[in-house]
């Protein structure tokens, strides 16, 4: 772009970690400034340079991304202390807030794979626990879908924008990190089974609660709502939520998480009472 900007550089400090269980350490990079940059383009520059601010050759920082337009959820990290997507974190705005440097850290509620990349498989496992799908008869042409009101669609649409990014979980005081270490000689299957069990027992988090809401309000999903409510009130379910409301403030998709939590809380109470009387 123009000459005035090309010589300028800004600092990016990154909390790095070479692999699971390894110590973390900070590194500082000087990134040449360009107009319209975001944190992804800064990381791309760092990858291409392969050097720290004081000239030491280092391996490029590892991070996760795909869509670059905040719909895939991959690039979530902690930027200047706030959990968010790197692709919509504009460098100009970040430097306005803190001209010193941009600080990048991996999310703390998930095991670090390397550098800024974390393992969020727990989120996908939780979607299995709550049966986040519609149990349709088949994929054949067997008739029309149910009609739905505009109002219903708008509620469902908001909930179905959840991109499994994990911001709401990072911010939640009740959601705690689970990092299992593989035993000597433990097979993939055995490790996976142990992990799933641990995931299922621990708090499902706001995003999963909202997904129960989504599927249970769908006309077809409502027919199997009991299965999802069972999961919702099981160990690690909605009762763990302490109503701190941090989740709703950080959701990049503005999903009305606390509204869902309240609605699901009521459904859970009714469900538990019913279970009592049905005994």
């Amino acid at each position: 772009m123009s000459d005035t900007t090309s010589s300028r550089a800004f600092d990016v400090v990154v909390l790095r970690q070479d692999g699971p269980g390894r110590p973390s350490y900070w590194q500082r990079f000087a990134v040449p400034y360009e107009a319209d940059m975001n944190v992804i383009s800064a990381l791309q520059k760092i990858a291409a340079m392969g050097r720290t601010a004081d000239g030491k050759a280092v391996s490029p920082v590892v991070w996760d991304c795909n869509c670059l337009e905040e719909v895939c959820g991959a690039c979530t990290m902690v930027i200047n202390g706030k959990v968010r997507q790197a692709c919509t974190a504009l460098v100009d705005r970040l430097l306005e807030d803190n001209p010193e440097a941009i600080e990048l850290r991996p999310m703390t509620k998930f095991p670090v794979v390397r550098d800024l990349m974390v393992d969020r498989s727990r989120m996908f496992a939780t979607l299995k626990k709550i049966k986040a799908w519609l149990p349709v008869d088949s994929y054949y042409d067997i008739g029309e879908a149910a009609r739905q009101s505009q109002e219903n669609q708008q509620i469902a649409y908001e909930l179905s924008k959840c991109m499994t990014c994990g911001c709401c979980l990072e911010a939640c005081p009740q959601y705690l990190k689970i990092e299992l270490v593989r035993h000597e000689g433990e097979s993939d299957e055995a490790f996976h089974a142990r992990e799933t069990e641990a995931f299922f027992r621990s708090f499902m988090g706001a995003s999963a609660i909202a997904q129960v809401d989504l599927f249970n309000t769908n006309p077809t999903g409502a027919m199997t709502s009991r299965d999802r409510l069972d999961a919702l009130v099981s160990e690690g379910g909605i009762q763990v939520c302490g109503n701190a409301q941090n989740c709703v403030q950080v959701c990049p998709k503005d999903i009305p998480l606390t509204t869902s939590i309240a609605r699901m809380g009521r459904a859970a109470t009714v469900h538990t009472l019913k279970q009592w009387f049905d005994r």
Partner: protein
């Protein structure tokens, strides 16, 4: 008992729909994907998905017209039976996706709402806010998760496909993959391998596509002997937001909902766009194409925007080419309801509210119409034999290609909202065909074969990987080479193409390919090494880049997205009726002559030296005879008249 297994590479709409169909038919599936499948590129699709519907039907629409619009929009370069079958299935697929929970927008009475997209006169496009692709992808992802829970599906996410494994007789029996966390290389045995790896936009550096759209999987399949067809047909989307890392799409739905494209008649008018009076605004698309207005097909909109900026010098900005895309005249609440998602993207990245101020946009590489060659089984009536294992099978037995990485359905130019339907359709029909292939017992199951074949394939890839890590670090930088490749490709092989430029680009790309062979890694580690992934993908971009350039160089005509000014058709501009008539006759002669020569698919295969070799394949146009595409051509009416007379004559013969 050992059961047959299918491996699907890619978990976008195409890969997931094939997987769920196979699972429903009790076939076990392994999915391999660079990203968790839920984060696949398909989630970027904004605008919608096409099918005939009850409403358009009553205005005279039907499946045949959807088919007709698709082949007309694609300049007749696609085989017609698959398109015909797709159009037949489309309304049923929309119904299925609705049953799977896609939150399609609703009318006050509770029916699905529809909008109009480019290249058609009917409101055929169903949509879910401005994130239709995301919603469709999630619905399929959920179904596949359900099958995963049932034990029919195993996912390998953060795994990379390195290439197919073929036996001595050339039949595909699996593939080599690498775990991108532990970097372990292993083989997956498969009784059928389905490639659903999406587009290859990153060959152009920046595009509207996601970071996984490198074309690497398609290229590796191509390098293993599968043919690559119509590579030169790359769609450039008319409206994208220029950015440093990506060119973000501004969906066609912005125009579908009434958005207007304009520039000031005064070059680089210094006034704020909201202060430019109507008299000075040049709505050039509406002016030049009164019938379709802002909704002309993509290739035409792209070229007009490009020309207004380059030839006519009317770009809004001086340093950066762009035009206005304006929705600010539409009611704000309606915009939020129908276009919320995409307007947010603009606001997020540009810091300007498009509800109040016209957006600035420019064309960007968006879609690859070409791709891996694959077959189909035609019925006498001109549809597909549902259940035939030949549907979507490549020239390598047992190896299939579906979704954006195949070459069917869109011909020389894709219509808006037709890709999502093609991806899901190709997945479903291929799932059924592949399941039938599993039933024929004339082959040993891959799981029961001797392990030498698989071990050798792994060792080969392992050796390549080791060699890559061991490079001495004195070569060029892979990220710089990628940028250069993107620049060369964007300059030579997008909107306007000239033979001398294409020749120069081929030489330059060859030079970059040589440089990439020695480019060095900055990470030699053996854990989550993204440097390896990137460098390997870069190397695999060259065979496809060369195929695009060679195909474009050879094709001396204009068709759809492929535009060479030297070979444009003349205008019919004479005043005198007899002279007009003569010009139109000459025009039609030339049109027919050109079709005889060029209405053919380009088929590329890699020669022993690794260079693409071209041949051509006849196109099945037996259902709808090719006719001139006359959107906005001067003298279009008389050409049409002459053409109609000729076709009637032909019909009587």
């Amino acid at each position: 008992m050992t059961r047959p297994k299918v491996v699907v590479v890619g978990g976008g709409l195409a890969g997931l729909s094939a997987t769920m169909q196979l699972a429903q038919l009790s076939i076990d599936v392994d999915i391999v994907s660079l990203t968790p499948v839920k984060r696949s590129h398909s989630c970027c699709a904004q605008g919608g998905i096409n099918s005939v519907n009850n409403l358009t039907r009553q205005l005279g629409d039907n499946e045949w017209k959807h088919f007709d619009d698709t082949v007309y929009g694609g300049d007749f370069l696609q085989h017609q039976p698959p398109v015909n079958e797709m159009a037949q299935w489309a309304p049923k697929i929309i119904e299925l996706m609705d049953r799977l929970g896609v939150t399609f927008n609703r009318t006050p009475e509770g029916f699905r709402d529809q909008r109009r997209f480019g290249g058609t006169l009917y409101a055929r496009t169903a949509f879910a806010g401005a994130t239709t692709g995301q919603q469709l992808l999630y619905a399929l992802d959920e179904q596949v998760r359900r099958w995963e829970e049932h034990g029919h599906v195993t996912k390998h996410e953060f795994w990379e496909y390195l290439g197919p494994i073929l036996d001595d007789s050339g039949v595909c029996c699996g593939c080599v993959v690498q775990d991108l966390v532990s970097m372990e290389i292993r083989s997956l045995r498969a009784d059928a391998l389905i490639i659903a790896s999406g587009g290859c936009g990153l060959i152009y550096g920046r595009s509207t596509m996601s970071m996984a759209c490198t074309g690497s999987a398609a290229s590796r399949t191509y390098q293993a002997g599968v043919h690559y067809a119509n590579g030169e047909f790359i769609q450039v989307h008319p409206t994208a937001i220029p950015g440093a890392d990506k060119l973000r799409l501004m969906s066609e739905s912005a125009r579908g909902e009434g958005g207007r494209v304009w520039v000031s008649r005064i070059p680089q008018d210094p006034r704020h766009p909201t202060e430019i009076p109507a008299a000075d605004r040049y709505y050039f698309l509406e002016d030049r194409y009164p019938k379709y207005g802002n909704l002309v097909p993509r290739d035409i909109a792209t070229r007009e925007i490009f020309n207004v900026c380059t030839k006519e010098g009317l770009s809004v900005e001086k340093d950066r080419m762009c035009v206005y895309l304006d929705v600010s005249h539409l009611p704000s609440d309606e915009l939020d309801r129908k276009l919320g998602g995409i307007l947010e993207i603009y606001e997020k990245f540009q810091g300007v509210d498009p509800r109040k101020v016209p957006m600035k946009i420019f064309p960007a590489v968006h879609y690859s119409m070409g791709g891996l060659w694959c077959d189909y089984a035609r019925t006498a009536a001109g549809g597909l034999h549902v259940g035939s294992p030949r549907n979507h099978e490549t020239n390598v037995p047992g190896l299939y290609a579906i979704g954006e990485c195949d070459y069917h359905y869109h011909g020389a130019n894709r219509l808006g909202a037709n890709s999502l339907i093609a991806c899901i359709f190709s997945g479903l029909i291929t799932g059924t065909g592949v399941a039938n292939r599993m039933k024929s017992a004339d082959r040993p199951l891959a799981a029961e074969r001797a392990s030498t074949l698989f071990d050798q394939a792994c060792q080969g890839k392992q050796a390549d990987y080791k060699a890559l890590l061991a490079r001495d670090g004195r070569g060029g930088n892979p990220y710089d080479i990628h940028q250069e490749l993107g620049k060369v490709m964007t300059q030579a092989a997008t909107v306007v193409r000239h033979n001398p430029d294409l020749e120069k680009a081929l030489a330059k790309v060859h030079e970059l390919q040589e440089r990439a062979k020695t480019c060095s890694l900055s990470d030699m580690g053996n854990w989550t090494n993204q440097n390896v992934v990137f460098t390997r993908a870069l190397q695999d971009m060259f065979p496809i880049a060369k195929t695009i350039l060679k195909g474009a160089l050879a094709r001396d005509e204009c068709r759809g997205a492929h535009f060479k000014p030297e070979f444009t058709m003349p205008h019919v501009d004479a005043e005198a009726p007899s002279e007009r008539r003569r010009q139109a006759e000459a025009w039609c002669d030339r049109f027919e002559e050109n079709n005889r020569k060029w209405l053919k698919s380009t088929i590329a295969r890699l020669g022993p030296d690794g260079e693409p070799e071209l041949s051509y394949e006849e196109v099945d146009t037996s259902l709808i005879p090719p006719r001139p595409r006359l959107y906005g051509i001067v003298g279009g009416e008389v050409i049409e008249e002459v053409w109609k007379e000729r076709s009637r004559g032909a019909a009587h013969e």
